[in-house]
């Protein structure tokens, strides 16, 4: 510390300036991207846009109902599978933190979290698409369910670990059987935390495109069948954004706007939930 104090203070102030500059500079791309999507997309959205299928090349108009329905069905089916499985595994991990199985399945959750989504797509292709012989919404849901699992498991585990042991002990001392203690006492106490984890996982997979490329594939028509190819919002954006037609680009901007709104609403909802119940994820 040979420098005089004035110089050191200046240095400190300059450093703070640099840090603040970089920290806030990151909001620029966010605002630019969100602003551009909203500007391009908001005027595309109207009743016709939300209720009709995409128009063929050369015709104006058309909508994204096939993608809306498809995304909804696939995410719901994925959630119906992933939520119970994820919650059960999460309960096991928080209840038996020291068991050997918990170590290995915990490791698998970590691995699953890091698996690139495109790899999930490849694997589900061989698990479901190839045996069935066709691209299907079912395989898309399976891929999304695998992507949802780690988030649901970790949020369940972390929420339940924070609950005091006395809660469980009190219930057990009253002679309540174990499964009722978990289902009627422990899970309801951690409900907000688990729910926000579920919301987060839905927000995450609703925008996933890569695992759907080789599974649900996409479909220009409205389809409700789980065993047929199905369109989804992100896949529709991908197909139409990379096409050479302006009409299709506009459709993709509108779809991007809708997708962005979904993600935003889900995230805000999660935020409110975590704040109200003071849970931490």
């Amino acid at each position: 510390m040979e420098l005089n104090i004035g110089l050191r203070n200046t240095k400190s102030a300059i450093f703070k300036g640099i840090i603040v500059f970089f920290a806030f500079l990151i909001t620029v791309p966010l605002i630019v991207v969100l602003g551009y999507i909203i500007k391009q997309g908001i005027f595309q959205v109207n009743w016709h846009f939300l209720t009709s299928v995409p128009a063929p090349v050369g015709e104006t108009g058309g909508g994204i109902i096939n993608a809306l329905v498809g995304s909804f069905i696939m995410v719901m089916v994925a959630a119906v599978v992933a939520i119970p499985v994820g919650m059960a595994a999460g309960i096991y991990l928080s209840e038996n933190p020291r068991s050997k199985l918990a170590y290995y399945s915990g490791l698998c959750v970590d691995i699953l979290q890091g698996v690139p989504s495109i790899v999930v797509g490849i694997v589900v292709y061989f698990w479901i698409v190839k045996p069935l012989g066709t691209f299907s919404a079912l395989s898309g849901s399976a891929a999304l369910a695998i992507m949802m699992l780690p988030i649901v498991i970790r949020s369940t585990e972390q929420t339940l670990k924070m609950l005091p042991d006395s809660l469980k002990e009190a219930a057990l001392s009253l002679g309540v059987p174990y499964h009722r203690v978990i289902l009627k006492v422990i899970v309801p106490c951690g409900f907000a935390g688990i729910l926000s984890g579920i919301m987060l996982s839905i927000a995450r997979v609703i925008g996933e495109t890569a695992p759907l490329l080789f599974t649900a594939f996409g479909n220009p028509y409205l389809s409700y069948s789980l065993t047929k190819p199905m369109e989804s919002l992100p896949h529709l954006i991908f197909t139409y954004a990379t096409s050479p037609y302006d009409d299709w680009h506009n459709l993709a901007w509108g779809a991007s706007f809708i997708l962005l709104m979904f993600v935003l609403v889900l995230n805000i909802f999660t935020k409110v939930l975590t704040r109200k119940w003071k849970v931490q994820l």
């Binding site: 990151i26 890091g114 042991d165 992100p234």
Partner: protein, 312 residues
Amino acid sequence: MYKKTNKFVENKRLKLSNSQLKWETIFRRILIAMSILLVVIILGVLATLIVESMPSIKSLGIGFLWGKVWDPVSNIYGAYPFLVGTLLTSFIALIISVPFSYAIAIYLGEYNPKGWLSDLLKNAIELIAAVPSIIYGFWGLFVLVPIIRTFEMKIGVAPYGIGVLTSSLILAVMIIPYAASLGITLIRMVPSPLKEAAYGLGATRFEVIRSVIMPYTRSGLFAGVLLSLGRALGETMAVTMLIGNTSAVADSIKNAIFGPGNTMASVIANEFTEADHTEYLSALIELGLVLFFVTVIINLIGKRIITRFTND
């Protein structure tokens, strides 16, 4: 505590009625089965990737990794262009993103941990992570590409617009939240006595950050960067839309950075459904296998460092 509770349950169990006992056993078995299912999924993923890439592993061997030509028409498969593309995009993105994620971590962890401004910035960062990659890709294609094209014309390289640099820029934005949010948590965990002691000796804020906070959190911040890297390596859609998808090896460093390329993830996304014969398909899956191993190892190292850091 855990052992005791279990013994207690064990004693209690004797007195439970039969049907309750039955449900309890079923419930426990379901929990165990679901945890086993996770292990099965991971083993299944690994097995599927290995089995399906066997034809290519057998016929091409380890030379697959540095084969420079990828030409499905003549049945020649080399992963080198994609390895280079993946490493190049990821590392450029990492270099761009690190100053930002460190700055955010230091700002929200040390300078301004509470208050509306800090909340606002924190939400903004979470939002960056929440925006789907397809939207970044779409935006990049229509807004960033023309900007980069003008820039490339100014500096006198071939004005592709799309390419490695463009993808890296978008990737950098996408991965900042991962390192940043972990960094915030870690910097807040630095014990105040350490910082106060340094302030007590007359250190300025910058000196405290440099000589107390940074050394204390170094390993954790590095783990955050590793997690970011894992994201960048596996990111598919935004890169696929922006990188230009050329499987040829660039002839100069300038072209490798400014020109179009391909990553492992983007080549899989582009060619998987077109792969019309076994060897082509299995070469693509082998790329997926490599990608799987690399991202998993990087992620596990990152997670291990974090666990060690938070347990100390």
